[in-house]
Symmetry: C2
């Protein structure tokens, strides 16, 4: 039997955000990279297939990071006294310029990709830099790693230092080159990536929206992250009803599949539009606090039925492990609860869902072990004293709160062991 994989261990995942599904001491069968089922023992029809037996270890869906900047990885955890716009000026742009150098890009992106995969992120929506050459390196490195990703060359044609902006024409040309080169890849694909409205002319946004629609490509950008930024957008785009409208008018707001990072300060019209378009928001809690942007009202958004996944937002966020984003999402929700007890804190299963199946829906059927889902998985090893004493649910919570790459002893993407 080709393409059959059997994995044994304790399986834990979230079908819905409210609860875990737990299968202790079970066998998961994956056929052609997709979950066929979870059984108490190997079904007769699969007898003879070698079993990857992980004993008392946990097997969980791989992490899905909906928002991070590969070109900022080196500066993670630096310049954290700044707020968004100053931080971009003082730290970020200088580093991003280096990625025009192919050798530098290869070296820095390799560090990034290695740590990303080590920490269990098996699907990610990634901003590269404005350099087409540098971005090509990132595509190649991620392909070698074997994870799933949407990678965007960052488009900017104004309001950033000369050394990293391009003309509208060059920005679109480079984007098109990467689309043509990588659109038929299985795992690492292009995504349309205006940095954010303020660094784009209306012409650039229009051109990018056309590319998105023409090639049916996904879109990622930033939305409503800080109050200064929102005022700036209002100044720059006088004709727009609100921040979201700047993207919407240009076919960049879920006319194709779209994820927007942050969305902290959406007004009522924007919230309605996000909901109507079924657009995915990426909640990036560490970044929002580090840059003093604000706190996303996640509980309120969830109650409204908005779709929310998680982002590490390297390097506004400092930790690349998505479990850290899960913890911080809970912590921020607890802070909101301190002043308004109607806003129930996020539970561990809710943030786990956001970081697996919830965010995973952006990539199709991934982030769960339900039948038909792509088998993207992490095998978690914890201390024997913990494994002996506590339930899978407690052990998973402990891994989320205290674990790191050292606790992940195997990784699978679409049934392939990395």
């Amino acid at each position: 039997m080709k393409n059959v994989l059997i994995v044994k261990g304790h399986f834990i995942y979230t079908r819905t955000a409210e609860n875990y599904e737990v299968y202790k001491n079970s066998c998961l069968v994956s056929v052609d990279g997709k979950v066929e089922g979870i059984y108490p023992s190997v079904p007769d029809r699969f007898k003879g297939v070698p079993v990857h037996d992980y004993g008392n270890r946990l097997v969980i869906p791989g992490f899905v990071d909906l928002h991070l900047h590969a070109a900022q990885f080196l500066q993670s955890g630096m310049g954290m006294t700044k707020q968004l716009l100053d931080w971009l000026e003082d730290y970020t742009f200088d580093l991003e310029r280096e990625f025009q150098n192919r050798e530098f890009a290869r070296k820095a992106y390799s560090c990034f990709a290695e740590k990303l995969v080590a920490c269990g992120t098996l699907r990610a929506c990634i901003f590269a830099s404005s350099s087409t050459t540098g971005t090509r390196e990132l595509f190649e490195i991620l392909k070698e790693k074997g994870i799933g990703a949407y990678v965007g060359k960052v488009n900017m044609d104004r309001n950033a230092p000369d050394f990293i902006i391009e003309t509208t024409e060059d920005s679109l040309k480079g984007t098109k080159y990467l689309i043509e080169k990588y659109r038929d890849e299985r795992l690492v694909k292009p995504i349309i990536t205006p940095r954010f409205a303020p660094t784009s002319t209306e012409g650039l946004l229009k051109g990018l929206g056309e590319l998105a629609v023409k090639y049916d490509l996904p879109v990622q950008s930033h939305l409503s992250e800080s109050l200064d930024e929102i005022r700036w957008v209002q100044d720059l785009f006088k004709g727009a009803k609100n921040y979201s409208d700047v993207y919407f008018k240009n076919n960049l707001f879920k006319q194709t599949k779209t994820v927007m990072a942050h969305g902290i300060y959406l007004d009522d019209d924007e919230k309605k539009l996000v909901k109507k378009m079924d657009l995915m928001l990426a909640h990036c809690p560490d970044s929002n606090i580090n840059l003093r942007s604000g706190i996303m009202p996640v509980r309120t958004y969830l109650d409204m039925g908005l779709k929310i996944g998680l982002g590490s937002d390297i390097a506004g966020g400092h930790k690349i492990g998505l479990n850290e984003a899960m913890v911080r999402a809970i912590q921020l929700s607890k802070i909101l609860n301190l002043t308004n007890d109607k806003l129930k804190p996020l539970t561990v299963s809710e943030v786990f869902y956001m970081g697996t199946k919830g965010g995973g829906s952006f990539f199709g059927k991934t982030g769960s072990f339900e039948k038909g889902y792509l088998f993207d998985a992490l095998v978690i090893e914890d201390d024997s004293m913990i494994a002996k004493r506590y339930s899978p649910e407690d052990r998973l919570e402990k891994f989320i709160y205290t674990g790191d790459d050292r606790n992940i002893c195997a990784r699978y993407v679409e049934g392939d062991k990395l």
Copy 2:
């Protein structure tokens, strides 16, 4: 020359909270475990002494953790949906009971001590459990590790499950036994440790205060951590003016050296008393958020001149690395700043000071590299791309935000390499 140590590298520490002192490519001379000075090169009088040359690495003071529970280490990151009093009932007490078993205590405390030292904490104020036998194991294990610590047998004679409380008499007797056994140790010493007011009778508090004064021993406990707890204390101690007064009346509020964890909701009288007595508060940001206790108004307290160090508060806090407490202290201060811009966020040097020299003052002269300070130090190794590109200040910030035990390649306590 005996007892002379020379260490070469980039030294960075905080003499005051406002700024770093930085000595690049310098030589620190330590004599008899104390800093003699930092020089551009080895002074003539020390020529011939072998140099521990750490090249381009950073050398920083060791971390000082003013509040954590060794007996809760295994449960770090579990039960985080609970608030303080429920969490104690549902998770903590059951685990603490196991420490009555000597073998269990040795195994669990060994895990704890190993991770604590690995993460760079070289001085700590530690709660054990109520078991005298178990606590003795912790003393022995920490002595083997070679770090400095105050270790407290936890005193409780009411309001906790029968299996972990003692009679007042037994609680005092066990405490006295450990005092007599360990009071003359050089590095690991006893500290008087009522768990907190609600689990102590007035008789126990009185007895503990007498021991503190008689043996001139330091005191640690919890103060004003959550609103439920404060109401409970008011109910239990009708004669007390406030929570602090319960301790104060019993010689447990800086009649000898005292550190109190949390102190989130101090009323004006309490703040004045804390200031007048020059009592040390241990700020435990992760714990305060995880258990939804509240946010300590650190900036306000600092402006008043209160003395504040940091605590990981394992296992209300989930991360044992004190750098994580530094980050969370900054993050919480940024959250307070979001709603009141007069409350300036804590800076990196401020939290670094709190976690080194500030908290270190509880142990005497440690946490700084000024002349006469005990040479407690960590050597920090970061990625070569980072080391080449960024300043010592940026590299330290990055280590604090993103580093872990793998970045610490050497540790010194009082001039001895661990």
